[in-house]
């Protein structure tokens, strides 16, 4: 079959270039597989594969009707799947689908520009889902590809892939100082980015929830995700003092402890008298989507913008959706609330009207036997110590309304939430004010770098009782039942350590362990030096620079940016003027060259006007008449003698009318 010569179409891309573009889109979209619903990834991948196969087989662009139907189907599917087409996940899903569809009709320069610009946007959207170091490196590679494609697109034959890649790397390197300046100075808004709805697709790490029911902390302990990393200013406190305070739970209801509504209204934050030197810690907290700012027990201060709860822990004004770094001071020896306010006492003794009769009876027995609260506490601890309790990640189920009775007298197996919950219940039943504190216990020293890691698997719950003269005192019933939990960590304590996550330990420290630790050190540096730089730190930096207030900061920065841009523009304009050809004939010819370069026909170094015209004519026959005439005229005007100004004007007029892209479209064939 005789193949027809393809008609010369101006400013089109080659098949290889379109295949490369498809690969770039696939590369930069790849991480979204983990972020988007499966069907979106599948549809996008199918569209990309279809496009690649179509190009390989040399099939033409699918008809407009097919493309329109596919577009409508894509929008419809996103609307049905998400109920919306904007917002973080839905918007990105739509973006990926439309980008893949756009590729199927991408032939001309204009389309490629659109696709590459969208690619840049996709790169940014990756950061909405993950800001890890690995992702950052991946996206640098993606940016490099996209910029290389831009370079190739604009330089055509003058920048073959290899040269374009080198130029792209050079441009990215040049951009580093600008990126660094913007990183430090670009105003950071607290709260979710651009008012996008918070991540709600279940990909977030779960942290301490503010409620505690049987099994909830055991579930958390199965993850070795890093909850926070901490540096001690000075020596680390002894293992028995490594309690990290999180939300304090006051209310007990149907087997569940929770922070309780209105606690903050009825009880004022506690008075803390520190004894001895405090401990200063530098904490980088992973996003938890909860406002808790974890700190070593008992926290004295954290960054000023935060509020202290009635339980003595600190909370941020917003849920922590981005990594945050703060300095916290804590006291290891302290007295909290030497006097207990009546409202607090009421809350710390409150119990549901019914449920758990055997536990109540046991508590009453202790209370009748001993009027001293300290003795009651000891009785209870003895009960846990001698009761042959099993400390396990997989406790048997307990009933909802009699969970404490079931645990204390039937199953006798539980995780720290069972012990802390039951102990607090017993104390309240015996008339001793008590509350549950959730947080973390322990810390793992990083093998590289001077910091400690606290993981979800270190999640813990304990009790505090209020004793006259001593205030709130920490009592850890888990330590009584399973002493190894505090001394040797969770792995030595639980009976089923095989269910613990890998990094929680309990095995030889093999190469994999050390590799994970090495990566942790890199990741810690990344988090500490890059991600934790948020609005709070930025405002402190601005304050140090004498810029007070967010509004002032924005005004100053806007002024700086506008001023810099204006200066750069002026400088460029001045330089362009300096380089600008004095001769309007030469300027007209340069314009012709630029227009031809835009359709991939840049003049080569050392190519004469006439030789250039010959090559253009050979590649784009539709231009032959015009470009031959223009080049001959230009050569004459430039190199021959006695030129009349009419001839110069005629050339400039003709040059202005030279539009290679339009010519190719209207006169093709």
């Amino acid at each position: 079959m005789a193949r027809r010569r393809p008609k010369p179409a101006v400013s089109t891309t080659s098949r290889g270039e379109r295949l490369a573009l498809t690969s770039i889109v696939a590369f930069i979209g790849l991480p979204h597989i983990g972020h988007l619903p499966f069907w979106v990834s599948l549809a996008t991948a199918a569209l990309l594969a279809w496009n690649a196969v179509r190009l390989l087989l040399g099939r033409p662009t699918p008809p407009g009707l097919v493309r329109a139907l596919l577009t409508a189907a894509g929008v419809g599917a996103v609307l049905m799947g998400f109920g919306r087409i904007n917002g973080q996940t839905a918007g990105v899903a739509l973006l990926m689908l439309m980008l893949a569809l756009k590729l199927t009709e991408t032939v001309r320069y204009r389309d490629v520009v659109v696709v590459l610009a969208l690619c840049c946007f996709v790169l940014v959207t990756q950061f909405l889902f993950s800001q890890s170091l690995g992702m950052a490196l991946y996206l640098v590679a993606g940016s490099w590809l996209v910029v290389a494609a831009f370079v190739h697109l604009h330089a055509g034959d003058d920048a073959p892939p290899r040269a374009a890649a080198a130029e792209s790397a050079r441009l990215l390197a040049l951009a580093i100082p600008v990126a660094a300046a913007l990183f430090v100075l670009f105003p950071r808004l607290p709260g979710p980015l651009w008012g996008l709805p918070a991540n709600n697709d279940g990909t977030a790490r779960t942290g301490l929830s503010g409620t505690m029911s049987p099994g909830s902390i055991a579930d958390l302990a199965r993850s070795d995700a890093v909850a926070f990393r901490v540096r001690f200013d000075g020596p680390a406190p002894p293992p028995a003092a490594r309690y990290w305070r999180g939300p304090v739970l006051w209310n007990f209801d149907h087997g569940t402890w929770h922070t309780g509504p209105g606690v903050a209204r009825t009880i004022t934050p506690p008075r803390v008298d520190a004894q001895g030197r405090g401990v200063r810690t530098d904490i980088t907290l992973a996003p938890s989507h909860k406002p808790w700012l974890i700190a070593l027990d008992m926290p004295l201060t954290t960054a000023t913008a935060h509020r202290r709860t009635a339980g003595g822990n600190w909370v941020a004004p917003h849920p922590i959706d981005q990594r945050v770094r703060y300095i916290a001071r804590s006291a290891l020896h302290y007295t909290v609330d030497a006097e207990l306010a009546p409202a607090a006492r009421r809350l710390a003794l409150a119990l549901p009207a019914t449920g758990n009769p055997r536990a109540r009876a046991l508590a009453h027995r202790w209370a009748n036997h001993d009027h001293d609260a300290r003795a009651i506490v000891h009785s209870a601890l003895d009960f846990f110590r001698q009761g042959r309790f099993r400390y396990t990640l997989n406790p048997p189920r307990t009933s909802r309304d009699n969970s404490v009775d079931d645990f204390l007298f039937t199953t006798r197996a539980g995780f720290c939430e069972h012990f802390a919950g039951a102990f607090t219940f017993l104390m309240r039943a015996a008339g001793v004010p008590a509350r549950v504190v959730t947080g973390y216990q322990g810390a793992q020293r990083a093998s590289i770098g001077d910091y400690w890691i606290v993981r979800d698997s270190d999640a813990h719950a304990w009790s505090e009782v209020w004793l006259a003269g001593a205030g709130w005192v920490r009592v850890d019933p888990t330590a009584a039942a399973a002493p190894k939990r505090i001394a040797d960590g969770i792995t030595a304590a639980v009976t089923d350590s095989g269910d613990l996550p890998y990094m929680a330990g309990g095995h030889d420290r093999d190469a994999w362990y050390h590799a994970r630790m090495l990566w942790d050190a890199v990741d810690a540096g990344w988090n500490r030096w890059f991600l934790a730089y948020g609005p709070a730190l930025q405002q402190r930096l601005f304050a140090a620079l004498g810029i007070a207030g967010f509004g002032t900061a924005i005004a100053v920065l806007t002024g700086l940016v506008v001023g810099t841009l204006a200066l750069v523009s002026l400088w460029l304009a001045w330089h362009m003027r300096a380089e600008r050809e004095a001769d309007p004939v030469v300027r007209a010819w340069r314009r012709i060259e630029r227009r031809l370069a835009r359709i991939g026909l840049a003049r080569h170094t050392g190519e004469t006007p006439v030789g250039y015209a010959r090559r253009v004519a050979a590649t784009r026959p539709a231009l032959t008449r015009q470009i031959t005439d223009l080049a001959a005229r230009y050569a004459r005007l430039r190199y021959a003698a006695n030129i009349e100004s009419a001839e110069r004007r005629e050339f400039i007029r003709r040059a202005r009318r030279f539009h290679p892209r339009r010519t190719g479209e209207t006169r093709a064939g």
């Binding site: 080569h604 050392g606 006439v610 050569a635 430039r638 190199y639 003698a641």
Partner: protein
């Protein structure tokens, strides 16, 4: 720099000159098949009043080209076969005592001609070579204190056999600069070879049947003046200067182009434009003569397959 001053007399009829040169090229083409570009270069070299070095193995038509040029331009031709015991006086001439006149009279050597073919100059001793090269440069010969001018037109066609190195003295690089151009004839094309094999010996034809001249020495002088008067405007001077500057700056050559090399390039380009009948030089003219003018003047520091001219062509932009 301002353009060349226009010639004082009426401007030469460039179309007529181009026509005559075209006939000469065609006539030589009857003997030397499919070598029009080389023939044109050789003509340009003579029009630029320069000396030509032909570097090639024997038997590819060097002599044919020399004869063709001499015949068609109507020049007095002489040929010197260089051998190892050739003496300077064998080229330049000697003073002998004339008994009748009772004084020394000068017997001019073969160099006193309008077109001199110095065949296989690398076979002569350096001393003899330099006698020739001096005469070429000075356009005069001094023997026993008496200076004899070599009247214009005076151009030398030297040949050198690069393959034959035994007992020869290849011209030093510094001497190569004295030749305006160096060209290679190369093997004939397939078609030309066939024509050659079918048609018989060209040398016999050349001897028996001289080409009819299209001009004479006086015309050649006029044409040389016309070539020198070809307009070189500023943009082209910019290009020439850029080429020269680049050859010195780039660092890939042992030495850059000398001022003489730069002048050679301009003159050759002017002659090339004249062959086209044009009154001004285009960058194309420079590029056409560039290999013949610069390749023997520039030596690459490191071996490379690219000729120096190719490198210049692709590195220096046309202004």
């Amino acid at each position: 720099m301002s353009p060349q001053p226009p010639p004082q007399n009426a401007a030469p009829d460039r179309a007529a000159i181009a026509g005559a040169l075209d006939r000469a090229r065609q006539a030589i083409g009857q003997r030397l098949y499919d070598k029009d570009h080389v023939v044109r270069l050789a003509l340009a070299c003579l029009l630029a009043d320069g000396h030509l070095l032909i570097e090639d193995i024997p038997g590819v038509g060097k002599t044919t080209l020399a004869h063709g040029l001499a015949d068609t331009l109507g020049l007095a031709f002489s040929r010197i076969q260089f051998v190892s015991d050739l003496l300077p006086s064998d080229i330049l001439g000697v003073s002998v005592f004339d008994r009748n006149e009772a004084e020394f009279v000068f017997r001019p050597g073969p160099i006193f001609a309008e077109l001199v073919l110095a065949d296989e100059i690398n076979r002569a001793s350096p001393r003899t070579q330099s006698a020739l090269l001096e005469a070429m440069a000075e356009r005069q010969v001094t023997i026993e204190g008496v200076t004899h001018v070599l009247e214009a037109p005076f151009n030398v066609l030297a040949t050198q056999n690069p393959a034959d190195q035994n007992g020869t003295f290849a011209l030093p690089d510094s001497q190569l600069d004295r030749f305006l151009m160096r060209i290679h004839l190369g093997y004939p094309t397939r078609m030309a070879e066939r024509r050659l094999l079918a048609g018989g010996d060209t040398r016999a034809e050349a001897h028996n049947d001289r080409l009819s001249p299209v001009a004479g020495p006086n015309e050649l002088i006029a044409w040389q003046q016309a070539a020198a008067a070809t307009l070189v405007r500023d943009p082209l001077l910019d290009y020439l200067q850029a080429l020269i500057a680049y050859s010195r700056r780039t660092g890939i050559f042992e030495r850059g182009l000398s001022p003489r090399g730069g002048l050679a390039l301009r003159r050759a380009a002017q002659a090339w434009a004249l062959i086209d009948g044009r009154d001004h030089v285009l960058p194309e003219d420079v590029q056409a003569v560039l290999p013949a003018v610069v390749d023997h003047r520039l030596i690459r520091r490191e071996r490379d397959t690219d000729q120096p001219s190719t490198h210049l062509l692709h590195s220096v932009d046309v202004g």
